[in-house]
C-alpha cells in the first residue's frame, strides 16, 4: 500500500499528487480526492493561520490512515496538510484514496477527512480583512457528529 503523509507550509498540486499515486500501476480503478480550501467568509477574512503540533500531527494522521487501510481494500492513500498563513482560495488539505472500485475510495476519503478534522492536532486562527488578528476558530459539533457516524 502506497501511503504518503506530509505536513508542509508550501502549496501542493492535487493533480500532481494524484498522478504520483497512480503512476506506473494498472490495478487502481478509482481515486477519490478531497481538497479543502480556505474560504473568505463573505469577504471578512484576509487569511487563516494554521498552527500544528509537529510530530504528533504526522503520528495521528498515520494512525487515522492505518484505520482506513484496515477498514477498506485501499491501494494507495495520500494526506497532505498545510500549516502557516493561508489565503482565501488556497488549498489547506488534500486527501486521496485509491482502490480497485469506487465505493471503498469514496468511503475511505470521507472517513479520512472526518477523522482529520477532529483528531489531527491543527488549529485555525482568523486574520481579518481590516488587518486585525481575529479569534481562534471554534470546533464545530457537526464535525464531531460526522466523525461519530463511522463508529
Amino acid at each position: 500500500m502506497a501511503r504518503t503523509i506530509r505536513i508542509q507550509s508550501e502549496p501542493f498540486s492535487a493533480a500532481a499528487e494524484t498522478a504520483a499515486l497512480t503512476e506506473g500501476r494498472g490495478d487502481v480503478g478509482a481515486v477519490v480526492a478531497f481538497t479543502g480550501l480556505c474560504r473568505d467568509e463573505g469577504g471578512r477574512l484576509k487569511a487563516l493561520e494554521l498552527e500544528h503540533y509537529p510530530g504528533m500531527a504526522e503520528a495521528e494522521i498515520g494512525r487515522i490512515a492505518e484505520q482506513a487501510e484496515n477498514r477498506w481494500p485501499l491501494l494507495g492513500l495520500t494526506v497532505i496538510h498545510r500549516f502557516g498563513r493561508i489565503s482565501p482560495g488556497e488549498e489547506i488539505v488534500l486527501v486521496l484514496a485509491a482502490s480497485a472500485h469506487r465505493q471503498a475510495a469514496f468511503e475511505a476519503a470521507s472517513f479520512l477527512i472526518d477523522y482529520l478534522k477532529t483528531r489531527a492536532p491543527f488549529w485555525k486562527r482568523e486574520h481579518l480583512e481590516d488587518g486585525t488578528v481575529g479569534a481562534w476558530v471554534e470546533a464545530r459539533e457537526a464535525d464531531d457528529r460526522a466523525m461519530e457516524r463511522w463508529s
Binding site: Y53, I113, R119, A120, F122, W123, R125, W136, A139
Partner: protein
C-alpha cells in the same frame, strides 16, 4: 517532564513549553491540571473550563484520567480545527 501548549491554551499560559518536576501525588492528567491551576492565574485562565482543554501524552490523545507514568511530553490544546 516536558509540558507543551498550543493555540489559545499556549496564549493563556503565556509560553510554548516548560520543564516541570511533578510533586508527589500527581499521577494522572487530571491531577496535573489541578496542580497547574494552583501555580498561577495564567494556568487558572487556560484551564477554566476543564472539559474543553484536550491532552496528549507522547503524541497520543488521552483522557483526563490517563496515567502520567513513563510520560516524557504532555501536551494541552483546544479542540482541533484543522482540515
Amino acid at each position: 517532564m516536558k509540558l507543551v501548549y498550543f493555540a489559545w491554551v499556549r496564549e493563556r499560559v503565556g509560553r510554548t513549553d516548560e520543564e516541570v518536576e511533578l510533586p508527589e501525588g500527581v499521577g494522572t492528567v487530571a491531577e496535573l491540571v489541578r496542580w497547574l491551576k494552583g501555580r498561577g492565574e495564567e494556568y487558572e485562565y487556560a484551564f477554566e473550563n476543564e472539559g474543553i482543554v484536550r491532552a496528549a501524552i507522547d503524541h497520543v490523545h488521552v483522557k483526563l484520567e490517563a496515567s502520567l507514568a513513563g510520560a516524557r511530553e504532555i501536551a494541552f490544546f483546544p479542540p482541533m480545527t484543522g482540515g
